[in-house]
Amino acid sequence: MKTIADLLAEESLFQGLDKVTLEFVAGCGRNVHFSPEDRILTEGEAANTFYVLRSGSVALSFFVPGRGGVVIDTLGQGEVLGWSWLFEPYRWQFDAEAREEVAAVAFDGACLRAKCETDPHLGYVLTQRFAKVILGRLQSVRLRVLDVYGAGATD
């Protein structure tokens, strides 16, 4: 049976980390499963956890009065759900809901923050990797702002 460290080694966020570091990080992780429509994150609640999705799909949404839940992004296998555990005030900014059966590794944010405090190199490496994920999402949002499919785009 695969350990959490084995599972993490398969995910792009952790690829290239040595075994000792992986096991150190894996100490803060556990396997979790969600059923379709399970609420994973709720806006405003304490952000103590983040997830690396192993399978399934999750919708990130924002409640807009009069419009209901507006889906702003969907995440799938290998993607990271949740950054708010990393930055004060440690509160979720959005809602997240499983759209199908989801398997993930859930990390205790406080545990990982404490490990990063004691091992600044690990903190630097993880921050770099999270920054890359955040940059990717920012690029995606910028493309959406461009409204690339808008009038005048093609034929």
């Binding site: 209901g68 499919y149 034929d155």
Partner: protein, 285 residues
Amino acid sequence: MSMALALPTDTRAADAMVPVPYRVVGRARETADTITLTLEPVEKAIATPVPGQFNMLYAFGVGEVPISVSAIDAGHRLRHTVRGVGAVSQQLCASEAGTVIGVRGPFGTDWGVESAMGSDVLVVAGGIGLAPLRPVVHELLRSRRRFRRVTVLVGARAPEEIVFRGEVASWQASARITVRTTVDYATAAWKGDVGVVPTLIERVTIDPEVTTVMICGPEVMLRFTAAEVLGRGIAAERVRVSMERNMQCGIGRCGHCQLGPVLVCTQGPVLPWSRVGPLLARREL
């Protein structure tokens, strides 16, 4: 005094400039601003186009625009999907059954579907960019066994702006190919992905050594999608894109569609990314 009319010495070129009358026999609304026209020749027909090629459609008295073929039927019927964004395309969209329009073509290069046989095929469409790729999907489905893994990624601004919505859903339901749709904006009722179409590239299985990629959509989307597929290890020669430029003559004479050394109307619209990618990175072009 009488004057002799100077005729072009290249009669093939002259013929290519003469619109052939076609009658609108079908008109289907795809989205709020996009219509698919089915055309039949009034008398003589143009040659049968190949997936990826385009025709110049002439709204008499208004003007001419290049429009890709969005399906290839047996016989001489043509199907073109037109988004009404300018005077000519809006006039074409408004054409009711019985309207006669002019057709010149077919022009340009094709997707080279046959050359992808035996390989994986990844089709990526953004907005109305699905129209030129639709005949490719038809061919992939028709000859499914001749291709390995087939993946179709479709992006649009909102669910109601996906062209050929019903057909895309039927491709998904058939399970013969992998189809993923993504939109920029959605409510909770939407079950597809949310985000721009390049973000789907990292979510699909790709065997870079044997994958042929065909991309069509707005230029910004082409650039970001190409960057993603190259990032997955696919060689630029295996990535084909359909270019949108100001095609006017269709036969490489007028130069309006020129992109650096490339005349898009004759050397394109379908071009390998290895050729067109460096040109799109130059602002002066």
